[in-house]
Amino acid sequence: MNCPQESFVLHAVRSNEWTSELRAHAESCPHCQEIVLVTTAMKRFSNIDVPHSLPSHRLIWMKAQYARKQERISTLDMVTLIAMSAAGVMGLAGLLFWRFPKLLGGILGGTGSFPWSTMFSGGTPFIAAVGALLVVWFLTRDSFFAER
């Protein structure tokens, strides 16, 4: 299926530089005859002109710069979103503990059980905070799951 002279024959067809030995070999070797035929055909086929002018390197360069910038913005977007969400959660948690010191004491005091009763005793602010978090998540969920 292969001939050790294949690459030399291929190059000779492409460059049209034949030695007499190589030509004699190509005429007697069935494998190389196929190579000559296919390479000659492909050489003739590839010898066409591009039907229109191709874009300048500058246009491609600018497109790549733009795409790279978009990629950077997208990464920055994600980082900002995560940082803002984390800050929001921490801020709300801080506010809750500040407004409900008993709750903090209950958790940190190690009583063994979570102080649910304390949390829900004056519960409106807590529920409002959780609700606000849910609303924020609902409004920004597309940014989290967007295809990047």
Partner: protein, 169 residues
């Protein structure tokens, strides 16, 4: 990363043969234009470190081959296009060899897309089997087998269309 002047000289050296490769693969000039531009943009975005022309060129051809394969995968799901429906980009050339080129182009359409790429890379670009395997992400041994089959298929069509005699003359 490449600077603009390095890219400019690389682009000027590669653009014409690269466009022809894509056009021969996809047989659609508009699609070839899209893949051509997208390949260079992705090539630049990849922040390739190498200044080696052969490596850069192989990488560029790999990107284009992947984009063409993505396109074929999508098209396969949508509809199957018969070889006769594919655009003949060789007919954009003036008369003379046009008929022969058109016949060779038709013969190429009888090959599977991957085989078309292989035939081009092997017999036009003179890539080695190992380099073709790297570009098309197939085993080196498979390149030998697929190229052999592609050659046999092409020669069969050449005979039917009388291209063999024309090439010999």
């Amino acid at each position: 990363m490449l600077d603009e002047s390095t890219f400019s000289s690389f682009y000027d050296r590669t653009k014409a043969p690269f466009w022809k490769y894509i056009a021969a693969m996809v047989h659609d000039t508009a699609l070839a234009d899209d893949i051509f531009q997208e390949s260079y943009v992705r090539f630049l975005q990849s922040r390739i470190e190498s200044r080696n022309d052969v490596q850069m060129k192989s990488y560029l051809y790999r990107i284009a081959s992947n984009l063409a394969h993505d396109h074929w995968r999508k098209e396969k799901h949508r509809s199957s296009v018969s070889p006769d429906e594919l655009e003949d980009f060789s007919s954009h050339n003036p008369a003379g060899e046009t008929e022969l080129r058109s016949d060779i182009g038709d013969a190429l359409k009888h090959l599977a897309p991957q085989q078309r790429s292989m035939v081009w890379l092997a017999y036009v670009e003179e890539y080695s089997h190992r380099e073709i395997a790297g570009i098309l992400k197939v085993k080196e041994q498979s390149v030998k087998v697929l190229l052999y089959r592609a050659r046999q298929k092409l020669l069969e069509v050449f005979k039917v269309k009388g291209i063999t005699q024309e090439l010999g003359s």
